[in-house]
Symmetry: C2
Subunit: 157 residues, 2 copies
């Protein structure tokens, strides 16, 4: 039996990108993009010592994503891939994750760079990026190997 879980917004991510077409396909592609993570004030205590990390992972909801498609072309490729073999937003449980650089913390607000999400994306979690746990140097790039970064196809999500 499928369980259901309720996720509550804990803040807002402000980014320079107002439309899907403007969003870079990954943080890595536009490291200079500045954003501001506004955690709702009641969660501020949860940020203590976060400023010791240079990079953090933002978890947010793809609240503007279109119809869920399990098998579809992605931004990097016109061939179809399973949505779990891609980061495409049109997925069951549209949870997005982006690794961003933490530039500065002021109380409940984090200044970050390398954002790739839409402005006003609902924040649902923050975790530290920890190289000693998160870097797998020998991992493969799978089907994305050698795919060049290209503009997003304009005729589809």
């Amino acid at each position: 039996m499928k369980k259901k879980f309720e996720i509550v917004q804990i803040g807002i991510i402000h980014s320079p990108y107002k439309t899907k077409d403007e969003c870079p396909i990954q943080s890595r592609v536009k490291p200079e993009g500045k954003g501001r993570v506004e955690l709702f004030p009641e969660y501020e205590k949860g940020l203590e010592t976060i400023e010791t990390f240079s990079h953090i992972m933002l978890f947010y909801i793809f609240d503007q994503a279109g119809k869920i498609e399990l098998y579809r072309p992605t931004f990097l490729d016109d061939s179809s891939h399973g949505v779990f073999a891609s980061r495409h937003p049109c997925r069951p449980n549209g949870i997005g994750i982006s690794i961003v650089k933490l530039e500065k913390r002021e109380k409940n607000v984090l200044e970050v760079s390398g954002v790739d999400m839409l402005d006003d994306s609902p924040l649902v979690d923050i975790k530290p990026y920890i190289p000693r746990f998160d870097i797998y140097e020998n991992a493969s790039n799978g089907w994305t190997e050698n795919k060049e970064i290209r503009p997003k196809p304009l005729d589809r999500e």
Copy 2:
């Protein structure tokens, strides 16, 4: 205003760990731990081409976690940290993420290694781990730098 979102279980993660005390504190600590990810059959098409990746990210719910505490000691340290500066399970929106090695796919079932979650954890998303996007070699380990891996403190979560 806080938005709420419904997340639906898409599968089950089978692991060798039946109790919290048995779970390693991170995948990295016990790479040999074998698991089996059983995606519900209706999502199987979403796995197409996932076998081209050596590592994947599993997203699941910490459904056995205790009371949420915004500021608390963690497994690695007896000093307190903000929960968003740690990976501790007792957090608002208990979404866990683990990077595991994909050993084999058979239809809707993935054999993986490096699991660190409880047996029967509810799966909510799978994304590929992509070194060209996910490796930040110059990132800092923050307060976790030099913290030795140790047994979990037994008197608390």
